[in-house]
Symmetry: C2
Subunit: 454 residues, 2 copies
């Protein structure tokens, strides 16, 4: 290693990290704020254990840039020392050629593990699991198990769960450390088993399902097994916490009508930001063009009763708003498993009366608005103002009912088609409801105003 990078690292340490005995969280924060080159130099000068601890934190979001800035051999050595799940995540963010170069410098066994983990999609149990766990044969005594835990304490992601395997290395039980320390030291660990099959997930299990398994069974970690029951790795509760937060961010961004970003807001490049926002925005814009076509279709009515146009924005937005409410309710209900695909008809039976009631409430307010303006002389809606009020009122009932139903059914339809129900966005629902809303409004107008204004 060159001397100048070490000197640079010492300078950085003296300048930016001169805290007395800093916590890992503080180191992460300070190093993430530095230029990748400076941070890389500082990592080389820090005590090894602390440098690895910093790189191991998912919050150290500049890790890929920092590893890129390090001499290749040093970067590979760090990756080998990091926890396998985190090393996989970081490798996944590097450019292909650099990733292969670094993998080639890692010793064969660790390399094989990383390559295997890299093959799993990031939103599955395989993609977030780690291979550093404690597995022991059934006949191990409690005392021997505790002795083993003491020796591996530093190198395992969690030692709070011990996995018991049979002679074919298949999982037979999961024992918690709290049961272990209060057990008879001479007992075989298999005797501590609760006597029912351990909770497991598979490598292709969705990370949201992993999270709900951990919650449902109050676990600190859940084992990931293959079809034969061999343990491939474990997912710990803190990995799940990170996964849930990432999932939430994705869901909120999708609901807001854009493709999910995987970087902090201020670090997103301008072009990639435009790209991810423009895609959906253009798609919605093109669909929304149907409103212009619908309006063109009703142009004759518009010219005869221009007063109808005054309420178009009001009526359309009410449909969009009621749809967006229903969608957000159902997205969460589906995500939390409170409602299943087959419950769609129950939802219809709830949303239909709810939409009607909400429509009647808004319709009454809308008619009152026209009546009051007319009565107080604030605006003259012409001789047929009562018919116009009736049109607006009936239009609102129809559009709010349709909006609630469409908004509630959209997540079901998406799930049925194999998409994430959380892809249903507020702008998507609004666009869906806008075009139909216009048609409902003008149809109601034709019926009510025919022979008078139209």
């Amino acid at each position: 290693m060159q001397n100048d990078i070490l000197m640079r690292g010492r300078a950085v340490l003296a300048r930016d990290l001169n805290a007395d005995n800093p916590s890992t969280a503080l180191l992460v924060e300070r190093l993430a704020a530095l230029e990748p080159g400076d941070a890389a130099a500082a990592l080389l000068v820090l005590p090894r254990r602390r440098a690895v601890a910093v790189l191991d934190r998912p919050e150290f979001e500049t890790a890929p840039d920092v590893l890129t800035a390090l001499p290749r051999q040093e970067a590979a050595a760090f990756l080998a020392d990091m926890s396998a799940d985190r090393a996989t995540d970081v490798l996944g963010l590097l450019d292909g050629p650099l990733r292969n170069e670094l993998l080639a410098r890692i010793e064969p066994r660790a390399r094989a593990t990383l390559k295997q983990l890299l093959a799993y999609p990031t939103d599955t149990a395989g993609g977030i699991m780690t291979t550093e766990f404690v597995a022991l044969p059934e006949a191990t005594t409690v005392a021997a198990a505790l002795a083993h835990l003491r020796t591996v304490e530093q190198s395992r992601e969690t030692i709070y769960a011990i996995y018991v395997v049979d002679s074919d290395q298949r999982l037979t039980a999961a024992i918690t450390l709290r049961r272990l320390i209060s057990a008879d030291p001479s007992a075989a660990i298999i005797t501590l088993s609760a006597g029912r099959p351990p909770v497991v997930v598979h490598s292709d299990t969705d990370r949201e399902t992993v999270a709900s398994a951990i919650r449902r069974h109050d676990l600190l970690a859940v084992p990931v097994v293959d079809a034969a029951g061999h343990v491939l790795g474990i997912v710990t509760v803190d990995d799940v916490l990170d996964a849930i937060i990432a999932e939430t961010t994705e869901d909120v961004q999708k609901f807001g009508g854009l493709e999910a970003f995987h970087a902090p807001y201020l670090q997103i490049g301008f072009l990639s930001m435009i790209q991810k926002r423009a895609g959906w925005l253009c798609a919605l814009f093109l669909s929304e063009m149907l409103t212009a076509s619908a309006m063109q279709h009703f142009e004759a009515e518009l010219e005869r009763a221009i007063v109808l146009t005054l309420f178009i924005p009001l009526i359309m937005s009410s449909g969009g708003n009621s749809g967006s409410q229903a969608t957000s309710l159902l997205i969460r209900a589906l995500a939390l498993g409170q409602v299943r695909l087959r419950d769609w008809w129950r939802v219809v039976f709830r949303e239909l009366p709810a939409g009607l009631t909400l429509g009647i409430i808004l319709g009454t307010i809308g008619m009152a608005r026209i009546g009051i303006w007319q009565g107080l002389g604030l605006y003259d809606y012409g001789p047929y103002w009562m018919l116009i009020a009736a049109t607006v009122g009936a239009g609102l009932v129809g559009i709010v009912t349709f909006g609630s139903m469409a908004g509630a059914m959209l997540p079901f339809i998406l799930q049925r088609l194999g998409f994430d129900p959380a892809s249903a966005s507020a702008p998507f629902v609004a666009t869906l409801v806008d075009v139909t809303g216009l048609i409902i409004y003008f149809s109601v107008a034709t019926v009510i105003l025919s022979g008078t204004l139209l």
Copy 2:
């Protein structure tokens, strides 16, 4: 206790719970699906430890109804045996008189703890903490600490973190069980401290901040201390997981434009559902009425150039969509601490060019649409069709830019005013942008079309 309730319980057990050695998660699922009276009877017949484990699970959402259905003395006994944080949550959902009656039947010390916990708001550290933790004096040896853990293993929420207190009962260090089991048995536990002050939160710390402290420092539990440094309780990682999921549901529902529900979708009463949805829907409707006023203001222009109305829905929805994108981005960025209140000007410098670029993209598509329809003879926008295209294009640039800026700033303004930035909803942004959008559109039209159509 009457015999008939026990007989009923045995019948329920035989009918619905005849699984062989069921897991707690399975018991929770089965019992939650039963009538509260049946579930109550079954709990009395189950082994005490298992019944308490079921009641302890936050997923057992019918717990308040089940306790209401139990004889008072039995309900009070269960509450006393449940973990203090869960008992508090359940008590908080009971009617006031019943809550007081049950509290009166609990022995004074436990009652004092529950009353103290009930006083904290549910979205703070105090509201989700438990008082069952392990605290030991500094001079305790490792061997004595382990012996103590063995005796309290059953009654403490987690024994994976041990809190070390000085002679005044103030927190001086937090030791993990994994360090303890690998330490020299004769050492004093205080010697295992990392030598820096432990991570703590306060009883009024927001639950999202608690979650980020646990994530940032990779903890299994974080202690809640008072101003003098005494430990009041702990918040465990699984409480945080539950809290984050509750928070996410609230945030998604708020973003969808409704008040947060605290019950599963299919269990929400019809009236309470209408109430929570109608409130926001009416507020948005009343604000959106300003669009009718704005349209009335521009009535003269509308009558002269009815062709302008054709594009009103298209233009308004584009403003709302770009605003909703920006809001969802900034809500998450603020929630994750990627952006702070004082960074608002940086966001302005990103959103202004982003909004302009997106506006130019949509404006170009919009002008092309008019040109193509006119060119192919699909619709006749009249002799001034190029000026109309220019109006639509310029209007889109203005409205999308304004929408992005307004959507991005809204979460900051809410946070500055002391509200949750996540209260900024897509419908709220859309309404905000709709009125302004109409004014921008008609102002642009007046400038461009003055002397020709207007």
